[in-house]
Point group: C2
Chain length 356, copies 2
């Protein structure tokens, strides 16, 4: 099949700008003219930078600074619905990955992304998502340097899935990781938990009432930088996303081989989140967060850490919530307000699917 000759960088078969035609069609995934048009009109207009614009199939980035390690993280984002109070899949896809890179003490610099589009998806919704994606990149201080778009037939995907991979440089001598919690350390949470899970449940129409809860999606790299710049001896940083605070702490306890004791009364939970969870029989400790971090460090540095976190945009409500106990197989003990103690386990099944 020979293609007709046509002027360069225009497509006479598609005389209208893409946005006016309104919907994703299979041809947008062909790798040919329509793909080029979509990338130019929807993506490059919002995410332009020198590396991305070089238009090769791979991106070449700067040499690593001496004494720095490269830190990399990847995440698929399949959240339903795409838009909800406090965010959308675009902001989520940036912040989720930026935060994972930051949790190893790295400064996130670059992102790559793949976009899987469903035939029939409204292009104005795609544009809203890419606007939000670009805004989150700017807030976090990262650049998109490579991307790929694919299109499935209608009914073979669900509007839009975004996978992102993030890169950053970390000081080679940093030892931050889930396996670094030590007996005597303090356990700090950067703010109230459960908001993202409740906001998404509500957007899905699962509540039957308005909770007024907004997702907490936010890039946490500036908070991490402030902590590291202060020279604190950070042992663990982790964002409690899927599975919530409880599941993430179990992971850390097992990786480090320690028990951790939490004081339930000290764990911040916004009232509307608590109320909604009580009504639905859910536990906010297992609800997903997208803008919170767990910090574990020596107890004598906890006050400094709290002061620094509270001075940052997303850490005003940071709280000391527990401490690391003796070496063990890794259990989380929750002291309740009634003086009893219960063991927290990982989330076993699925409380709310497609939460991130």
């Amino acid at each position: 099949m020979t293609q007709p000759e046509m002027p360069i960088l225009e497509s006479p078969n598609c005389p209208l700008p893409i946005a006016d035609r309104g919907q994703i069609v299979l041809g947008h995934g062909s790798g040919g003219l329509m793909t080029h048009d979509l990338i130019r009109d929807v993506f490059q207009s919002r995410l332009s930078n020198l590396i991305l614009n070089s238009a090769n199939d791979a991106a070449k980035i700067t040499e690593a600074p001496p004494g720095k390690h490269l830190v990399i993280s990847t995440d698929a984002h399949i959240i339903f619905p795409l838009f909800f109070a406090g965010g959308d899949i675009g902001r989520l896809a940036v912040c989720g990955t930026v935060n994972d890179v930051a949790m190893l003490g790295a400064e996130p610099r670059f992102l790559t992304a793949t976009f899987i589009l469903e035939e029939g998806f409204a292009i104005n919704e795609l544009e809203m998502v890419i606007d939000s994606f670009a805004e989150a990149c700017q807030e976090a201080g990262v650049e998109l340097i490579a991307a790929d778009t694919k299109v499935t037939e209608k009914g073979k995907s669900d509007k839009l899935f975004i996978s992102t991979t993030g890169f950053g440089w970390a000081d080679s001598n940093l030892r931050i990781g889930g396996e670094q919690a030590k007996p005597g350390d303090a356990v700090i949470i950067s703010g109230p938990v459960g908001n993202h899970g409740v906001a998404v449940a509500e957007a899905r129409g699962n509540l039957g009432f308005s909770s007024q809860v907004r997702s907490d999606i936010a890039p946490l790299n500036h908070m991490v930088k402030a902590l590291l710049d202060a020279g604190l001896d950070v042992h663990v940083l982790r964002d409690p996303t899927r599975g919530g605070l409880a599941t993430t702490l179990v992971e850390i306890a097992r990786q480090s081989g320690v028990n951790i004791e939490l004081d339930e009364e000290k764990i911040p939970v916004d009232k509307p989140v608590l109320k909604t969870c009580e009504l639905l029989g859910l536990d906010p400790l297992y609800m997903a967060n997208e803008g919170k971090l767990i910090l574990i460090l020596p107890t004598n540095q906890a006050e400094d850490a709290l002061r620094i976190m509270r001075s940052t945009l997303y850490g005003e409500q940071a709280r000391l919530i527990g401490q690391v106990l003796e070496p063990s197989k890794g259990q989380i003990w929750l002291k309740t307000p009634f003086g009893t103690t219960r063991v927290l386990e990982m989330l076993a099944g699925e409380m709310l699917p497609r939460i991130c």
Copy 2:
């Protein structure tokens, strides 16, 4: 919802090994116990390495060698069906990204991957894919260092989508890219074109007969290394995937601002591919490839390049197929066996969706 206390690293709710339960369920995407079991049983057992096993949400890799740039590429793989003659989505997800990294002259070293699974997908098929993924990693010499799995409800995705991101180091003084083609350069293809497209069309039941064609999916990084180790002055390397040889050459011609002349008789096409395309009214120059590369370099180095390529596993049928002409807006002229010339354009719509 408190989880019952349970032994560490086992899940009493799931007494059978995952493979015996047979299907992906939403709980596999929860981030909790079932996700951990799936990752351990299906992924880590096949893709174990020190970095991946560290079980943090991001991977920390070595410092960059001095004088090297980091090269990064990303791709979403949504091919239908998952299995076809000559390959599957696992081999594709590795080779597609390894090749994009290699096309900038880098040695691919690491991969990250996201796996979007559909509820109900057979776990034994997932295991076959991950076996193939692991085998391709080994052949290419790359390690998976970070991954993420998500699960959608049945009917909201199509069995399995894999996004991969690849990383490698390239000499900082290399200048390889689609914009580097120069008048007088030779244009070489590493082997016959169109096999992948035909093999996938057949696996889809679109042909109505058996073509005997197998996909050419292969990692091309060892071929690229052989060319660079020989000190050749490589200007352009590009793998003609979606949109085929024609679309990829149009991209290069436009990036470099040159015309390119091809000799149709010299372009290698396997007989069964040619026959199938003729029967279906398709043009093999627009059919996807997954194990071929276009090499553009000074004509006086073409013979050396062909000799080197033919000595490698996937380059035995490498051919000189054309030359770079004068600076221009970027057109591809195809000299036909009948003495006429036609202009090749990019693929305009979609010849075969979900080809990679």
